[in-house]
């Protein structure tokens, strides 16, 4: 079985488990699953708002998740949910054993916290939930991190800054889901390392899956696997945006450009990576793109020409239907020339739109007196001519590289 099939099967299995476990699960488990999974959650009867009056803590916690999941301003149900939530909080606050009850249920604690976080509740209601959550964490359950999140949401104690103690699949999966849902709260937390992601992916696909009746774990596993796979797909398959970002970052990569003033080994000339003309820029970009794109990257030798007089384009990326045209600025006046050249060739670039329908212009500024204030002008001009020009990137030559007038070959 291929990796793709394995992942697809696992996702299908977890999705089915969520579906199977959903109907009979406690109301706040259902609401938590809906909050996590959003449009991937099983279809729930939207009119079935938890009542709050008679269902006690689970229903009020579910109202909290429901409230947090609604766009309060626009959703007509939100006002009703808010009212029920507030009434439910007041009821719970008057119960003698509510602290103990809340201590026994991490998801209920989170539901109340996210609900409260959505609006400023009455001070009394706020007060009792804060009081109840101030106690040290009780038994070490796999959902303890949800309680930590609740505490940080309401009390800002910084519990999330501490790494969760257990590295079990459940704990890691929940951590990933919570980080995705509340990224700002995890800003101060240690990074979720790639090794942990890899380990989690392995366990989510090979460990025995949760069983029907375990909605919390099924939903968390499902969401965590989806997040990991989405991330991996993004990493593995370039998008135009990602490619633009990668090429934009070539500017920063010049920080360690090699240009030795003198040789550090006798008898060997100093190392100097000179970029002096367009083919040099092309070679540089090839070395950047080729490892990431492999055979998906075509150079001008492999690309068709568009007529006897028209030049070949420098690169093409088949999967993105994207062409890359490289230009070099040697003097300030070259900007106008570049605009004219590109404009003249635009029609021929997209002669076969089924193969290529987007263009990226990579401009290497090698002028001794650069004019960055004109970059935007060129960018806007080109994009105004044709919206298939997705980006015009400008990259200044490495600072260690001498002016064009100083490249006489002497040290």
């Amino acid at each position: 079985m291929s990796g793709d099939q394995l992942f697809a099967q696992r996702l299908e299995l977890l999705s089915r488990l969520v579906e199977l476990s959903f109907e009979q699960a406690p109301v706040h488990s259902r609401a938590f699953a809906c909050y996590l999974l959003k449009e991937n959650a099983p279809a729930d009867d939207a009119s079935r708002i938890p009542a709050g009056t008679y269902g006690g803590l689970p229903e009020v916690a579910a109202l909290g998740f429901t409230l947090a999941g609604h766009q309060v301003a626009s959703d007509p149900l939100a006002a009703q949910v808010r009212e029920l939530f507030e009434d439910g909080l007041n009821r719970l606050g008057g119960r003698p054993a509510i602290g103990k009850e809340l201590e026994a249920d991490d998801l209920a604690a989170l539901g109340l916290a996210v609900g409260l976080n959505e609006f400023s509740s009455s001070p009394d209601a706020n007060h009792w939930v804060r009081q109840a959550l101030q106690k040290p964490s009780p038994a070490a359950t796999w959902t303890l991190r949800a309680r930590d999140l609740a505490v940080d949401l309401l009390l800002g104690q910084g519990r999330l800054r501490v790494q969760p103690p257990s590295g079990s699949t459940d704990v890691l999966a929940l951590e990933l889901c919570l980080r995705h849902a509340w990224p700002a709260l995890f800003a101060g937390s240690p990074a979720f390392a790639m090794e942990e992601r890899a380990k989690l992916l392995e366990h989510l696909t090979t460990d025995p899956a949760p069983t029907p009746g375990d909605l919390d774990r099924a939903a968390v596993w499902y969401q965590a696997l989806r997040l990991l796979l989405t991330h991996a797909v993004r990493e593995a398959l370039p998008t135009v945006d990602r490619l633009v970002e990668m090429l934009r970052r070539t500017q920063a990569s010049f920080a360690r450009w090699v240009w030795e003033s003198k040789s550090i080994r006798s008898g060997v000339m100093p190392a100097r990576w000179l970029i002096d003309k367009e083919p040099h820029v092309q070679a540089f970009l090839w070395s950047v793109l080729r490892p990431a794109l492999g055979d998906d990257l075509l150079d001008e030798e492999s690309l068709p020409s568009y007529g006897l007089k028209q030049p070949r384009v420098d690169f093409g990326i088949l999967s993105l239907k994207l062409l890359i045209e490289v230009k070099v600025i040697r003097a300030a006046g070259d900007l106008k020339k570049i605009e004219d050249e590109i404009a003249a060739d635009l029609a021929s670039y997209f002669a076969n739109p089924t193969r290529f329908d987007r263009l990226l212009v990579y401009v290497y500024d090698d002028a001794d007196t650069p004019a960055p204030e004109s970059y935007d002008q060129l960018r806007q001009a080109l994009r105004a001519r044709d919206d298939r020009v997705v980006e015009v990137l400008f990259v200044r030559r490495p600072s260690v590289m001498p002016d064009r007038s100083a490249r006489n070959g002497t040290v």
Partner: protein
């Protein structure tokens, strides 16, 4: 759905009904009227009209003002009349045990004498007076069939023991009667109807028989003549007498008898016998009254017929398990194995001690049993087809921490030796659970003579809940041991104060409290020393689940109304505070009782609830009678049964668990023992529960109440199997039984269950 059949045959009327009426002028006058015309008329009082209606069952016309009327207006009177007509037909032909409501009689044919038939097949004859009869039961009921009130004849068949051999003769014939209960046939009125057997009256337990006199214990009389009394016709007495008379052939005859008995009580045979009974009545009985009205007995109600009662759909309730109580599943055993008991993470007793008291002679085997209870049935010993049910034991399956075991051995199988052993153990430590090894024979020992009761009283006085296990169980079939351990583990966990599982409540629309009343009888049925005790169990709803609140002790039956009110008062106060009821909330109070509450009791209940809550809440009431004692049977002829053992099949013709038939607006039959719930193929067809909603109730959603009863049958922690009654009744009876039996132990005081650790323990499982 299978083609169900109900043992009820609708009655159609043909001809003219002449009915008479006279004004009601008091009970004495009414009684005199009945007595004066007992052979010629049947009467029924209509209290609301202040009239006594009557029909003539002989050549005499009805009494009083006579009119021709529609039979549908007089179904209850005609029901009594039909029973009377059948009684007249039976008179002289059959031995009638009870003349009406229901009418009960023994079969008259040779095949109805099962013991004689069994003995004859092995060349023997039972002594005069020793027999097993086929017993027939007939009753009339008005059912709402397709919303039409219909008179039905209910018919049932079972077996009945007869040991009508004077005790003097049994003694002469060397039958040991000591310790057995005796009775006499005596009509309370001293004027039995012709053909009617006088009732059996239980007198007491035999201490000795000397000089033609029987000395009795547990009796209102000290002695009786040995020629005047018989052994009580119970199964164990019957078997003992049969063994005494049949000698070497007894075993084979009793096995033959068991087969014949099964041929009467099994679903298929019973249905056939019921139909034959009705056929006989159709063909031979004169079912006609003065004026020409004839009763026509229709075929039994079958599911494909238009008149068959409607059904109420039921399904298993969702149960909650797991460290924080959010894991859900329909089956308790897999639920606990997979996720652990409900909220086990917060169970406070993780390091606990079990105190074991056993006989010295059995100590080794008992300690092995306890070790398996603690750590599970070893995988290397498990030979079953499915997964080992008790993997991990209390530590693994029930997620308890360390368990320490301390033991004390009783030097002898006596109450005194056991009491000393318990005291030695309590001198060393106070365990969290006492485990007592007993013997089957202890069941028959009374009070201080019973090692189990003595030990239990000693432990519980020290606030220690008790689990017992008989040595015969430990040494029984090896294949059964893991299942026994599983159930003992479950009950032990609950007795320790743990919550194995709870039942989820979906989207409740009211606060709800359900109070159940159960009873037990001590002494002996019918004997002077008999005493009835009741206890109460409360189930209330909160935080999306039902919780059991069993803080009650036993009370004498006479005081049950007071106890019920006290319990109601305590429960409302507690639950109102715990769930912080708010003004304007809806509150539903449901009462599960085994007998009709009286109007004044229901008024008192409403008064108490009103006093406690003022006018703040909208309170609604449901008074539900739940009975196992009635004449209805539901058959499922298409049911092929369940395979078990070596090629055996049990439960053929028995409906599935959860089948529920609606007999009227306020009445339903709920079947709680399906083919898979039966233990063997020797069990007869189980009876459904008859559920009646009292008209005084203002919450009238019968399907809701029936489903609630069905769901509550899954809440018992006594075993992993679903119960045959709701936990409200089952637990109450169990509390009453356990505490009533402890009353016979010197020094016992049941108030100890209301305080300390036992308050939270399900000690009564």
């Amino acid at each position: 759905m299978a083609q169900l059949t109900l043992n009820a045959a609708p009655i159609e009327f043909d001809g003219k009904l002449l009915v008479g009426s006279t004004p009601f002028e008091g009970d004495d006058e009414y009684r005199r009227l009945r007595e004066d015309h007992r052979d010629t008329h049947v009467f029924r009082l209509s209290a609301s009209e202040g009239l006594i209606y009557n029909v003539g069952i002989s050549s005499d016309p009805p009494l009083g003002e006579v009119v021709e009327d529609n039979p549908e207006h007089h179904l209850l009177l005609l029901g009594k009349t039909l029973q009377r007509l059948i009684l007249s037909f039976l008179g002289g032909r059959f031995s009638v045990l009870k003349p009406a409501q229901p009418l009960v009689f023994w079969g008259g044919r040779e095949e109805s004498r099962l013991l004689s038939t069994a003995a004859a097949r092995h060349g023997a004859t039972p002594p005069q007076g020793l027999e097993v009869f086929v017993k027939y039961l007939l009753d009339t009921r008005v059912l709402a069939l397709g919303d039409v009130a219909t008179l039905c004849l209910i018919s049932d068949v079972s077996t009945s023991h007869q040991i009508e051999i004077p005790l003097a003769r049994l003694v002469t014939d060397k039958i040991d009667v000591r310790g057995r209960w005796v009775c006499e046939r005596r009509d309370e009125d001293g004027d039995p109807d012709e053909g009617l057997l006088p009732r059996l009256k239980v007198l007491g337990r035999v201490v000795r028989v000397e000089d033609g006199r029987v000395d009795l214990a547990d009796s209102e009389v000290q002695s009786v003549g040995a020629s005047d009394v018989f052994l009580e016709p119970r199964r164990e007495n019957f078997d003992a007498v049969a063994r005494g008379y049949f000698g070497a052939k007894a075993g084979v005859i009793l096995r033959e008898l068991a087969g014949l008995r099964q041929g009467v009580v099994s679903a298929r045979d019973k249905l056939q016998a019921v139909e034959e009974t009705l056929d006989t009545l159709r063909g031979k009985a004169a079912l006609e009254i003065h004026g020409g009205l004839r009763f026509k007995i229709q075929p039994l109600l079958e599911e494909n017929g238009a008149a068959f009662p409607g059904s109420i759909a039921t399904e298993r309730p969702p149960l909650l398990f797991g460290p924080q109580g959010r894991n859900q599943g329909p089956l308790p055993d897999p639920g606990i194995s997979q996720w652990g008991p409900y909220r086990y993470s917060f169970f406070s007793k993780n390091d606990l001690t079990i105190g074991v008291v056993c006989e010295k002679a059995h100590q080794g085997r008992v300690e092995q049993f306890v070790e398996m209870l603690r750590n599970g049935y070893p995988e290397n010993l498990w030979r079953g087809q499915w997964a080992n049910p008790y993997t991990g034991g209390l530590v693994g399956k029930f997620r308890l921490g360390s368990i320490k075991v301390i033991s004390e051995a009783a030097a002898a199988p006596t109450g005194q030796a056991y009491r000393a052993a318990v005291q030695r153990l309590l001198g060393r430590t106070t365990p969290d659970l006492g485990l007592i090894q007993t013997r089957t024979e202890y069941r028959d020992r009374f009070g201080d003579q019973n090692p189990y009761l003595v030990s239990k009283a000693a432990f519980m006085t020290a606030a220690v809940p008790v689990q017992s296990v008989e040595i015969e169980t430990i040494e029984g079939k090896k294949g059964a041991l893991p299942y026994i351990l599983n159930n003992v583990g479950l009950a032990s966990y609950a007795k320790l104060g743990g919550t194995p599982w709870v039942m989820a409540v979906a989207a409740p629309t009211t606060h709800e409290i359900v109070l159940g009343l159960g009873y037990t009888e001590t002494g002996h049925r019918g004997a002077g020393s008999r005493q009835r005790y009741v206890a109460i169990t409360t189930v209330f709803q909160g935080d999306g689940r039902y919780l059991v609140w069993g803080r009650t002790r036993e009370v004498e039956f006479e005081n049950y109304a007071t106890a019920l009110l006290e319990n109601l008062r305590d429960t409302i106060t507690y639950v109102r505070q715990q769930n912080n009821w708010q003004a304007g909330d809806r509150v539903r109070l449901v009462f599960h009782v085994y007998r009709h509450l009286k109007h004044r009791e229901m008024d008192a209940i409403k008064q108490v609830a009103s006093e406690l809550t003022g006018a703040q809440f909208e309170i609604e009431y449901a008074f539900v009678d739940i009975s196992r004692f009635h004449s209805y049977c539901i058959f499922d002829p298409a049911q092929a049964g369940k395979s078990y053992g070596r090629g055996k099949v049990k439960g053929m013709g028995v409906p599935e668990r959860g089948i529920c038939l609606r007999l009227g607006e306020r009445s339903a039959l709920l079947h709680l023992t399906g083919p898979g719930d039966l233990k063997t193929d020797e069990q007869g067809i189980p009876q459904p529960l008859l559920i009646d909603l009292h008209p005084e109730s203002d919450f009238e959603d019968l399907p809701y109440l029936v489903r609630q009863i069905y769901h509550f049958s899954y809440m018992s922690w006594r075993t992993f199997f679903p119960g045959t009654e709701p936990v409200t009744i089952l637990y109450s009876r169990s509390i009453a039984q356990k505490l009533a039996s402890l009353r016979s132990v010197t020094g016992w005081n049941s108030t100890s269950v209301l305080a300390g650790p036992l308050r939270e323990s399900k000690w009564f499982l």
